[in-house]
Amino acid sequence: MKSITIYGPGCKKCETTEAMVREAATRLGLRVDVEKVSDVKSIALAGVMSTPGIAVDGKLVHAGGLPETSKLEQWLSA
């Protein structure tokens, strides 16, 4: 099971990103563990400068803006 971390201070885009991740996982039939990090300090410490950021298994794969669905599926199924 992959663990996905979403970094975002709670703006609308961050919530949309979380929903997109869950949707993509359901579509792919994968079980994922989604964690949301909204504390700015932790966001900054993770090296994310533009939110929302996404990390898969602790590795940052995306920062800034909504992810593209096709890329999201790629990260989840990689």
């Binding site: 201070p9 792919l28 700015v40 966001i43 900054a44 410490l45 400068m49 533009s50």
Partner: protein, 352 residues
């Protein structure tokens, strides 16, 4: 697995030439409609049962002309900037600035502040990302001031509504204020006024993202997404701003405006700043007001000062920054930027 993924993510993608053709067609239609806005707005105004030259009539005409004009300009500008900004990212900007410790780090930061896409909701992670990469505090401030102050939305609207001369003045002075304020703040050695936990971070982590290669179509899509997001968010401010502008245009007598916002009274510039700082709106909302003020004979310096303080210094932004800066540092920051704005205001009232 691969085939499955492809089957799922497949969408009806248009061929590239359809994209290019659509953008071109949209540009042509935009141009044709934009050229017809005056007759269009006069026609709309004539539908109201009021005399064209009455107070109400001229307020309605102002509103009916400015609303479509501003919204169309905004759409075009946000699209073009969205596409341009797809070449920049906070990560790239940080890499560029991290190497610049010399004096020209400041103008460079101001320039990148204009070109780098970032939303105020991520200004804290961005601030930390910069400071932890060893970018001097002053340079970081230049970046943070220039971003909102010399935003493309504001410049484009100034250009469209008030004319290229004032847009250029605004650009040059906005840029100068960002550069000089950053430099002054940098010289003041304010690192000790950062919040403790920020100071504790010395060599911070650098998130290394794989560089993304975007196709032209993807850049167009980014532009469209920006339009949806930004225009979708600011249109209400535009309407409110234009409504206030229309009221000023139709009802406020010129003599009164000259008395309050004319260049004669020494207190007109500072009071414009005092009113401007706590005002929560954005470039799109304040520029129609500035247009009406100037039209009624308000002094250029006073109006510039008002606009700049509304756009560059906003309370919500300060509250966000409170997480990394102490109150004292925020106060110094506001004071330095306000001084720059005051100086600009006085300069133009004095020159003209």
């Amino acid at each position: 697995m691969t085939t499955e993924t492809q089957g799922i993510s497949h969408r009806h993608e248009m061929p590239d030439w359809v994209w290019y053709l659509s953008v071109l067609a949209a540009a042509v239609i935009w141009w044709l409609v934009y050229g017809q806005l005056i007759p269009l707005s006069e026609w709309v105004t004539s539908l109201f049962p009021v005399a064209r030259d009455s107070h109400t009539g001229s307020a309605i005409a102002f509103f009916a002309y400015d609303v479509p004009k501003v919204l169309m300009l905004l759409t075009a500008i946000v699209f073009v900037t969205g596409v341009l900004r797809s070449w920049f990212s906070p990560e790239k900007t940080r890499a560029i600035l991290a190497g610049k410790r010399q004096i020209w780090g400041y103008p460079m930061a101001a320039l990148l502040g204009v070109l780098t896409p970032f939303c105020s909701c991520s200004s804290v992670p961005l601030f930390i990302g910069f400071v932890s990469a060893g970018i001097p505090l002053g340079v970081t401030f230049s970046f943070l001031i220039a971003g909102p102050m010399v935003g493309p939305v504001g410049l484009g609207l100034l250009y469209g509504l008030v004319g290229w001369k004032i847009a250029t003045i605004y650009l040059v002075f906005g840029f100068t204020i960002a550069t000089v304020s950053g430099y002054v703040l940098g010289r003041m050695r304010l690192e000790r006024y950062l919040q403790d936990w920020v100071r504790a971070l010395n060599a911070g982590p650098v998130g290394d993202l794989p560089e993304e290669k975007l196709t032209p179509i993807e850049r167009i899509k980014i532009g469209l997404e920006q339009v949806r997001e930004i225009v979708g968010k600011v249109w209400i401010w535009v309407l409110v701003g234009i409504a206030i502008g229309a009221a000023i245009h139709g009802y406020v007598p010129e003599a009164m405006m000259l008395k309050i916002m004319g260049g004669e009274a020494w207190w007109s510039v500072p009071s414009a700043v005092l009113i401007g700082v706590p005002m929560y709106t954005n470039a799109a909302g304040v520029i129609p007001i500035a247009e009406a003020l100037l039209g009624k004979g308000a002094a250029l310096g006073t109006t510039l000062a008002f606009m700049m303080s509304v756009i560059a210094l906003s309370l919500p932004e300060m509250i966000i920054l409170k997480q990394v800066l102490t109150l004292r540092l925020i106060a110094i920051f506001i004071a330095v930027v306000s001084l720059g704005i005051l100086a600009t205001g006085y300069l133009f009232n004095f020159l003209l």
